[in-house]
């Protein structure tokens, strides 16, 4: 099993979610995060006090998936979430040691 973490631009969330549904991805966890990479922030000015914000709002998607599905998931997210501009985000894949469905106690691939 693998754990896929994708940081994407917030407005891409709905498209990504629909595309992943089409692949058979049953669930995901979504959180609102802040971060930066090569995309620079904006300057905010409050009554003459200037702040350069390095933190930009992004959305993080976390998906636990069976090994076989992972390459498709990564490719789908990359194609759908891309705007070909700096700040589109990144996708990370981690090894997942175990997964358990809380309701039934199932483990392994059947828990995903």
């Amino acid at each position: 099993m693998k754990f896929v973490i994708a940081i994407i631009k917030p407005f891409k969330l709905d498209e990504v979610r629909e595309a992943l549904n089409g692949l058979g991805v049953a669930g995901m966890t979504v959180s609102e995060v802040k971060g930066f990479g090569r995309q620079k922030g904006q300057t905010e000015i409050y009554r003459g006090a200037e702040y350069s914000t390095n933190m930009l709002p992004k959305v993080k998607i976390e998906i636990a998936a069976a090994d076989a599905l992972v390459p498709q998931i990564v490719e789908t997210i990359q194609q759908v979430a891309s705007t070909e501009a700096i700040g589109d985000g990144k996708i990370f894949v981690l090894d997942l040691a175990s997964a358990t469905r809380i309701r039934t106690g199932e483990t392994g691939d059947t828990a995903l």
């Binding site: 000015i45 409050y46 009554r47 003459g48 006090a49 702040y51 914000t53």
Partner: protein, 491 residues
């Protein structure tokens, strides 16, 4: 031992408040009988008769309006000012600002009842009656539903309670304005102690000096019975000096004595909710109609004049600030527009009943420009952490407005001029702009010196006894949880 002392103090305080009511009942008859009799006129035609205000001189429309205006001014404190300031601080300190403003309003109202009204609006029982009054009306002794307060018109009176109430709301908001200057880094109890001391030693004397007088039907027989600045002829319709310069300078002194916030200039401290700030600024504008138009004390055309000036000057100031930011930053900001609005309201406050709506527009625009320079360039250059720009907006806006009043009140510019009350019937005084402006400058200077000195003494006293500032840990973690055991947001 301590418990017994508190119990005794509580019993004493309660009995004072209760006996005040009983005492007022007896005193009312004494006061009604002892109204000042005018000095016998030399003129053979006039029979010298004591002027006695009667119930027929009270107009229900005036009373209704003044009570509504008072409620509007209280709205300016809670929640308008609380939200305006609260939105500008970081989320971890939002609740502390709300609590400070709310508590100051409560404490100020009680202090006004106890000795504030008496010190401000009497002149008996004081060694310096033109500076401050005495305690003859402490706990509102002698004030009851049958006593009267003068307006600015001969033979027109308000029930005295109405005047007490209206002025009470002013006494509540003025100390609350100060907290913005040292927001996010003041301990709660020393702040409340400061407020009680400052009201007593700065607000009441200045309000007395600017606004106390014997009334249009009594002044000609008691020609020295007036506050010092009133006697100079200084014009301050609704409190440019008494409220705004007063609070603004006190705020500056406070922020200098306390020092800047931890992380000032190095950490980002943007406002946590400009939504709240906008709600606050909007309610301030609505409430300010009560503040300015109510200061005419009558429901008439002059109240309407103050109302429309409060409208046009403010509109001009808000628009001007937005235009300045468009030019300077290419982006007009909501905070800028809201600040401009407040700056305009502050500046028109002393001039509200004197200006023409057209000159009010100019005054608002000028105040906006000057305040913009102070809250951006000057503050950044001199590096003082006046967190919410109490000095930059209230003091500077108040100074522009107070001096500008000398200009816009000129009848040659459509202004109302000044009223000569030295005869039995009020008449228009002769207006000389240069000398009026000079008088305004004197009034501004006196206010700045007086409140600056009192504030410095009080702040330093508290700093070197119980301390003003919370510890670095408390300040970093936030005042809400540490001073009040609550969080503003539990989301």
């Amino acid at each position: 031992m301590i418990r017994n002392t508190f119990a005794a103090a509580g019993a004493l305080a309660t009995s004072l408040f209760v006996s005040a009511a009983a005492f007022a009942q007896e005193a009312a008859e004494a006061v009604a009988a002892a109204l000042p009799a005018p000095v016998a006129e030399a003129s053979p035609a006039a029979a010298a008769a004591a002027f006695v205000p009667t119930a027929e001189m009270v107009n229900k429309g005036d009373v209704a309006w003044m009570l509504v205006a008072s409620a509007l001014v209280l709205l300016m404190s809670i929640p308008a000012l609380a939200l305006f300031y609260g939105g500008l601080v970081r989320a971890k300190n939002m609740l502390s600002v709300l609590m400070q403003v709310l508590t100051i309003v409560c404490v100020a109202a009680l202090v006004w009842f106890a000795w504030g009204y008496s010190m401000t609006f009497t002149s008996t029982g004081s060694p310096f009656p033109t500076i401050v009054g005495g305690l003859d009306k402490a706990f509102l002794a002698g004030v009851d539903p049958t006593t009267f307060a003068a307006t600015f018109s001969n033979g027109v009176y308000l029930p005295e309670y109405v005047f007490v109430i209206f002025q009470m709301t002013f006494a509540c908001i003025t100390p609350a304005l100060i907290v913005g200057a040292f927001a996010e880094r003041i301990k709660f109890t020393p702040l409340i102690l400061f407020v009680v001391g400052w009201m007593t030693l700065a607000y009441f004397p200045i309000a007395h000096m600017v606004w106390y007088w014997a009334g249009p039907d009594f002044l000609h027989t008691a020609p020295t019975d007036m506050g010092l600045l009133w006697g100079w002829g200084a014009l301050d319709f609704a409190g440019g000096t008494v409220v705004h310069i007063n609070a603004g300078v006190a705020g500056l002194v406070g922020c200098l004595v306390i020092g800047p916030r931890i992380g000032y200039k190095t950490e980002a401290m943007p406002p946590h909710s400009l939504v709240m700030t906008m709600i606050g600024a909007s309610l301030l504008w609505i409430g300010w109609f009560g503040f300015n138009a109510g200061s005419g004390l009558e429901a008439n055309a002059f109240g309407a004049l103050a109302f429309i000036n409060t409208f046009t000057a403010t509109a001009a100031a808000g628009a001007t600030w937005a235009i300045i930011e468009q030019i300077v930053h290419k982006k007009p900001s909501l905070l800028g527009a809201a600040t401009g609005v407040v700056a305009g309201l502050v500046a028109i406050t002393p001039a509200a009943g004197f200006a023409h709506p057209g000159t009010a527009i100019l005054l608002g625009a000028v105040a906006s420009i000057v305040c913009f320079v102070f809250v951006t360039t000057v503050k950044n250059k001199l590096r003082y952490d006046d967190s919410l720009d109490v000095f930059g907006v209230h003091a500077i806006g108040g100074i522009v407005g107070a001096i500008g009043t000398g200009i816009v009140a000129d009848p040659a510019l459509g202004g109302q001029g000044w009223i000569d009350y030295t005869g039995p019937v009020a008449k228009a005084g002769e207006y000389v702009m240069s000398s009026q402006v000079m008088t305004q400058i004197w009034a501004v200077g006196t206010t700045v010196l007086w409140t600056g000195t009192v504030s410095a003494v009080l702040f330093l006293l508290l700093k070197y006894t119980i301390g003003l500032r919370p510890s670095a840990d408390v300040e970093t973690e936030g005042l809400d949880i540490n001073e009040h055991g609550e969080r503003a947001y539990n989301m």
